[in-house]
Symmetry: C2
Subunit: 458 residues, 2 copies
């Protein structure tokens, strides 16, 4: 019987595991170790704190420390896990004061998350240059904003975080330049959508430099940073944020002998067990399972971390939960544009041996006769031979239900349905909010026509 | 080979069948007979025409006559089908001028729709008293509004159409009273939601009289109608609209010998074939198939009509399409409140032999730390013994994506999943538009806890 469930990390995976374990047993002792002072903070919410939309950083906590402790979960903040000893079933920890102690466990969860990639750009350590993933980085940027009152910000990387930061800093009145080495921003969606998002950024006076890299950065003019791009051009900024993806935080696991998998993340099975006995891993430090292709993948997302944590928490107490896998479902709002995606796009699908066909449909979010209809663009990907649904990307203004329309596709992907099956779904309709054939179903019909033509041509 | 495909009716089922047939064959002759002058008009859009939000009734057409004819589909308006002769494979039709002629067919689709129920209330034929389903009724009401400039309207029945008419007439500045014999409005959702909607109506100065029936109506004071309720109270109005459901329009089919099924709708199989050779039926005149309970049902909805029509159109050309059934998915907006539903609620589920358990969860549509979060109420129904997902009802303000969140549940119902499976779905999240555990998933966890407690108590 599990008496001590020890959790390293207090973000999404850790908290979900702890809450699930407590739900299943009032007797188990649960201890959660946090390296920093921020239990269960919403990493995804940081851009909205920097924009001022969430004025108090404390509000970014999904749950306060008191909420967690009320569930009889012991929380040790500012406590660094130094070493896991799988034979002794214990973790050596160091307190803020430097005191070492040994915590025993029956079951252990590693939920150490990820840290920002630091691309090899000279000048990354200059004052005013930041990466952003954890609350301490967020608070450091916030303090820098207050202290130095920057007016020009350079964002390096065109992924989700920087999309939100474009929005955040523009709202805060700063002049924003974004540099992305890919030819369009947000490369998790196809180029036509990336271009549309880039255009929207440009329309809000954000200077977007795609297909360019920062080669080096240097100090100039007091507090300023000057970045030199690969075309020789120079950009000057008071604040630089480099968001170039994340890598799993695995040192503790590796030192203890745990195996690594895809993306050098901790290898886990569907029960979230590592290769070490009684040691689970979940969240951004661990592999995930791609539900559609049936292979391990590395897709560090909060939604996945919560689900994996819940599975680990259940199994740590002797349960038999299996993680059902992720599809890479994501949504981001960029000003008044919302882009969502799930599953595979053409280029991903080819890698996995599919024969992908992607069509783009332009529909209205609701019946066009009712005022306020807005364009909704849908890119649907399926397998040309089998008709299997592989993925979708949606682009629409806010209030087009673009975020939750993608969930319908995700549900069909989980059930391994075909594009044609989308047409059979009994989806909701009222003229101000939809169409008798939902936009997704209109897109499915377009896809089937394209499949038919494409097969005729072969 | 099908040379002549004849379609009686030009609303959703008819047009979907015609378009599907044309998509599959450029050779087939397609003729569509319309009893009125309104091809492919959106019945669901009528309330928004009466509200003035859609100023021109012509805009309510999903497609214009020209659009349809451009697809080489022959449209005969004001042409009444008088008699189907299944032996001769022909339909006798009468033109507006009264001329009879005989149209031959290889395949025939009956898409005659439904007509308003006329409850046995004395006074239903008085001037100023209307039912509402078809465009001619809509235009008659519109003309009455213009001519008589009514200030007080009485709506009899608390279903979808009258919910929208409450909104419509209040926007138009009329004083509205609604009488519903059930104890709450919108009895397709549970009473707690019906009450919330009733409260919202009342907050917009609509006088809601639930648990009451209109016993008779009589003329009073010139153009006024006085309605007497079953408690003896009297209501005076310049305009009365009675919306008491619909019954399938089956006379033609019955006269030709077609069998009837549930709700006295035309009996069809999954290929949308009637009991008559080469005669299909689809839409509000026909049965539907309940995808979850695996039995015929009568659920007249535009979404269903489109899907059934598409299946019929494909099979009329020798295809092998099977209608996959409906779940009764519906959504309606009442002022700034949106209520959606799919599948079975407790009382329905009991009828079909399930052991239903329904829980209600209150969540936020998105992370509460991000401004503008609104309450979302979710009622989830599952089978206590098997954990099977049976249905859901959602209630939220506009912009909470309540319309399209229900679609995720519908997709899971089509795939016959459990409540627990909802938790495993990889759904989208960003703080301004969601939560790492989507509200549906939070509701599923609440349901599982309730199931656990409920089974312990047995």
């Amino acid at each position: 019987m599990t008496q001590h469930f020890l959790i390293i990390g207090g973000s999404d995976a850790g908290i979900s595991a702890a809450l699930r374990a407590r739900e299943l047993s009032s007797a188990v002792e649960i201890t959660m170790l946090l390296a920093d002072d921020y239990p269960n903070f919403s990493i995804c919410g940081i851009p909205f704190f920097l924009s001022g939309e969430v004025p108090d950083w404390r509000n970014l906590a999904h749950r306060t420390r008191a909420d967690i402790e009320a569930k009889d979960i012991r929380v040790l903040t500012n406590t660094q896990a130094e070493k896991i000893d799988p034979d002794r079933r214990s973790v050596m920890v160091r307190s803020r004061e430097g005191n070492l102690s040994e915590l025993p466990y029956d079951k252990l969860l590693i939920g150490t998350g990820a840290r920002s990639n630091r691309p090899p750009i000279p000048g990354l350590d200059l004052p005013g240059v930041f990466t952003l993933r954890w609350m301490d980085e967020a608070r450091a940027i916030s303090a820098y904003l207050t202290e130095h009152n920057p007016t020009r910000v350079l964002l390096v990387g065109g992924g989700y975080i920087n999309m939100e930061l474009c929005d955040a800093f523009e709202r805060a009145g700063l002049h924003v330049t974004l540099v992305e080495h890919h030819r369009t921003v947000l490369k998790t969606v196809d180029a036509s959508f990336g271009e549309a998002i880039g255009d929207r950024l440009a329309s809000r006076n954000i200077s977007v430099r795609c297909g360019r890299r920062v080669v080096f950065m240097e100090r100039s003019n007091g507090n300023r940073v000057e970045a030199t791009l690969d075309d020789g051009s120079k950009l000057s900024a008071d604040l630089v944020i480099v968001a170039a993806g994340a890598r799993p935080e695995t040192q503790l696991a590796v030192d203890a002998g745990a195996g690594l998998g895809v993306g050098d993340a901790i290898r886990v099975n569907e029960r979230m067990e590592t290769s070490l006995p009684d040691v689970f891993a979940a969240g951004d430090c661990a592999e995930t399972w791609h539900a559609l292709v049936g292979r391990p993948a590395y897709l560090p997302l909060g939604t996945t971390a919560h689900k994996q944590g819940r599975v680990a928490g259940e199994n740590a107490l002797g349960g038999f939960a299996e993680y059902q896998g992720s599809l890479g479902t994501q949504v981001v709002r960029v000003f008044d544009l919302v882009v969502s995606r799930t599953g595979l796009k053409d280029s991903d699908a080819k890698v996995y041996g599919f024969d992908p066909l992607t069509t783009e449909s332009k529909t209205w979010d609701h019946k066009v006769y009712y005022p306020g209809a807005k364009e909704l663009r849908i890119r649907l990907t399926g397998d040309r031979r089998t008709g299997a649904l592989l993925g979708a990307q949606l682009l629409g203004e806010t209030a087009t239900e673009t975020a939750k329309r993608i969930d319908t596709v995700a549900a069909l992907l989980h059930a391994r349905r075909t594009v044609a099956d989308l047409i059979d779904q009994d989806l909701s309709y009222t003229p101000p909010l939809g169409s008798p054939w939902d936009p997704l179903q209109q897109a499915a019909m377009d896809w089937l026509r394209a499949q038919h033509s494409s097969n005729l041509l072969r």
